[in-house]
Symmetry: C3
Subunit: 139 residues, 3 copies
């Protein structure tokens, strides 16, 4: 067992991306390792310019909810997603992009933020890490 | 490793709140410890009068689905959420409210069911528990 | 601790059923055990003829998104759900149907794909497996 958090980011919803990054950064800052597997809608958030584009999983009426939440987050001094993602990388976090999703969605490597991605993997890569992780989540 | 279940309740959907409480109460009644971290939409369910107000994650057409499911649950002798939550507390379960969410949503302590909440915490509290838990879930 | 993945399939969304089966089959093919607990909307996918009927969790505009994704999956040589589910069983995976959900939804055993189901269980069955599993997920 490694002191690690291994998280699948299936959802592309803004609030869930926040949760994933806040948990992962929390784990890293407490001395754990952390890996994020971006798959399905989650992968879209790794596309260039896509990080902030996720809808809310609830209350997303004409985009108003999303704007309101962002505004409130700013007031509550919550770091924007880009900052959280950069912190994640600087703290030693690992990002894996799901190759199957790339093929299904027709997404090419050059369309992704390649500088942030440590590996392009399939389910075997995930299982190998997750089976030895103390925290496993599907978001 | 503690024989514990540590669950993040990110969703406020009625059916997912049911799942969280049924799993947590199951864990407690089998001798495990259990902690529920209410965050984002989940936190709204801890507001006074908010527990039963969650929408369904699917089939929520004009509120009909929600009413129908509640009715069927009653017929199937499934306890209402309030009862499940009280059982959770009586069996020794721990409830943590996410402070960051309270700040973002502008929710004050006195608006929450304070008598049920054991702690107001941030991600560090969660990681500390989750890294030693046998079951970790994100709902 | 058993080298096992224990997954709750709460969602009936097509993309999440794919994720659940791909992860579970990945675990099995790497020598792990795997159990899938179908509950709430997830259980509907075990109904006769229901496996392919799940909506997408996002982008499901008039059914177009669903059709498009299926088409792209075929082109990307991703196996259809039925094939993944059969592989899961052949590799030794275990399927548990949630009895409480059957009662709530009014679903009878003969309406389910009984040949695929190993057990009809309640939360206790789940906890017993999950507390000894290396990977626990809620999908």
């Amino acid at each position: 067992m490694t002191d690690k958090a291994t998280i699948i980011v299936h959802s592309g919803d803004m609030d869930k991306i926040y949760s994933a990054l806040i948990i992962a950064n929390g784990a890293l800052s407490m001395g754990m390792e952390a890996s994020l597997y971006f798959t399905f809608w989650g992968l879209q958030r790794l596309q260039k310019g896509g990080l902030e584009k996720g809808p809310l999983s609830k209350m997303n009426f004409l985009g108003l909810g999303r704007w309101m939440i962002k505004n409130r987050m700013k007031k509550a001094n919550v770091a924007p997603l880009e900052r959280l993602l950069n912190d994640f990388k600087e703290l030693g976090g690992k990002i894996i992009a799901c190759e199957m999703t790339m093929e299904i969605m027709g997404v090419k490597k050059e369309e992704l933020q390649e500088n942030l991605i440590d590996d392009y993997g399939a389910v075997g890569t995930y299982i190998q890490e997750a089976r030895n992780s103390k925290i496993t989540l599907f978001i």
